[in-house]
Amino acid sequence: MWQWFHRLGSPRWFYQASGKWLPWLSGVAVLLLMIGIAWGLGFAPQDAKQGNSFRIIYIHVPASFLALAGYYVMALAGAVGLIWKMKLADMVMKSAAPIGAALTFIALVTGAVWGKPTWGTYWVWDARITSMLVLFFLYLGVIALQYSYSGQDAANKASAVLSLVGMVNIPIIYKSVDWWYTLHQPATIKLTEAPSMHPDMFHPLLVMILGFYCFYAVVLILNTRTEILYRERRTRWVQDMVGPAGESGQ
């Protein structure tokens, strides 16, 4: 009885509760991002060596943070779905994959754009860049696997297994790429380290990181809500909510 209630109730409860959180969360996200961008692009001091080009850090660093955090969100949601068979967790896992892949892509592209004026080249086989690229491939694998199964349940479980295997592998891949890089010592290029930043530059970055976290949460919730509506389209509550117009879609 309890399990039936729990299984059936969870996505619906989340849909309704998240509808109430969304306006607040999106407001906070937009506010933080606006403050962070204006502060970072307009008011933070220029970098002594890089001039204005360093300002891309305000997009690049938060995107990289969330690209990695997003993988853990996806894999942990997959684990929850696999272990406790929670429908909602499966939906979150599926929704998190494209967002994470997009953020990884943004991190790679902004890194390349930043690399051109700073290092004189778009691409360097640096340890961090290379592991980011591998992370992008891992995301693509999970997404591709998710979409190649025709049955929803099998797709959930298969991509959950794959993202968990990937999660176990991320530290190994990261360490091995790091080791590979130090072994080759290809160039004298060094990434500027965040802790050495001046507080005037660091504070807007912190605001941007927080803003990106909120933004990530908003997009994840929106994606999950769409997924809930799609997967629960045959249930009474969705049909009641969407109304007669929704029935033509069946």
Binding site: V134, F137, L138, L140, G141, V142, A144, L145, S148, Y149, G151, D153, A154, K157, A158, V161, L162, L164, V165, G166, V168, N169, I172, I173, K175, S176, V177, W179, W180, L183
Partner: protein
């Protein structure tokens, strides 16, 4: 407990020997693609020697990737896999037996062929021992990791390309440590570090992979 393991191992090796193409194809593939390198790049011995460790490792990886697709495929098509999944024997051990058989008929021949190809690419003498030792352990890791991907994609119609897409990123640490061990040895450094890591990768994947593969097979069979 061990009965299922031994029976599967014997069966898979026997099947491979009855159908020799299964053993020969990855090895021939390895041979041919390595032949392409001097043709495409340069026949100059000094330049070939420079890239030999990386080339040999990348090609061995691709050969192993090609063969891993068939690990569960024929058993899936004729229904044997279904019987394995529902049999009372532990699936973990049976999967391990299948992976071991796969390594015996694909990884081991690749390892044995590698020194010959190394000679053709004028690999310096110091490189042979780490090449063989690294491949011996590395191909086993590749089989173990590839088995997870093979189990996840076995029920899909176009699983082959997807398999390489999801397995390739997981292969990268093996490639890095394998080829750098050869390179280090050629440059006159000790190979203990990368070999120890390779052993650790083997031990770790030996522990995790049959478990994940068994889980993935259950998903593929029953959704």
């Amino acid at each position: 407990m061990g009965q299922g393991f031994l029976a599967i191992l014997r069966r898979d090796v026997l099947l491979a020997f009855r159908n020799r193409g299964e053993i020969a194809n990855p090895v021939i593939f390895f041979f041919i693609v390595v032949t392409l390198i001097p043709l495409g790049l340069t026949p100059e011995a000094s330049r070939l020697a420079e890239i030999a460790p990386g080339i040999l490792w990348v090609m061995a990886l691709l050969a192993s990737l090609l063969s891993v697709e068939g690990l569960f495929l024929s058993d899936y098509r004729d229904g044997t896999l279904e019987q394995l999944v529902i049999s009372p024997q532990p699936l973990y051990l049976m999967v391990l037996a299948k992976i071991l058989a796969h390594w015996l008929i694909s990884g081991l021949p690749l390892t044995l062929l590698a020194p010959v190809l190394g000679m053709m690419l004028s690999l310096p003498e110091a490189g042979y021992f780490p090449l063989v030792l690294g491949l011996l352990m590395g191909t086993a890791v590749l089989s173990l990791v590839g088995a997870i991907g093979a189990a996840l994609t076995v029920a899909l119609r176009k699983g082959g390309l997807l398999l390489s897409l999801i397995v390739m990123p997981l292969y990268m640490p093996v490639l890095i440590f394998g080829s750098s061990a050869v390179q280090r040895s050629v440059d006159g450094f000790s190979i203990e570090g990368p070999m120890a890591v390779m052993g650790a990768l083997l031990a770790f994947s030996l522990l995790i992979s049959p478990f994940a593969t068994a889980g993935a097979l259950r998903v593929s069979m029953h959704g």
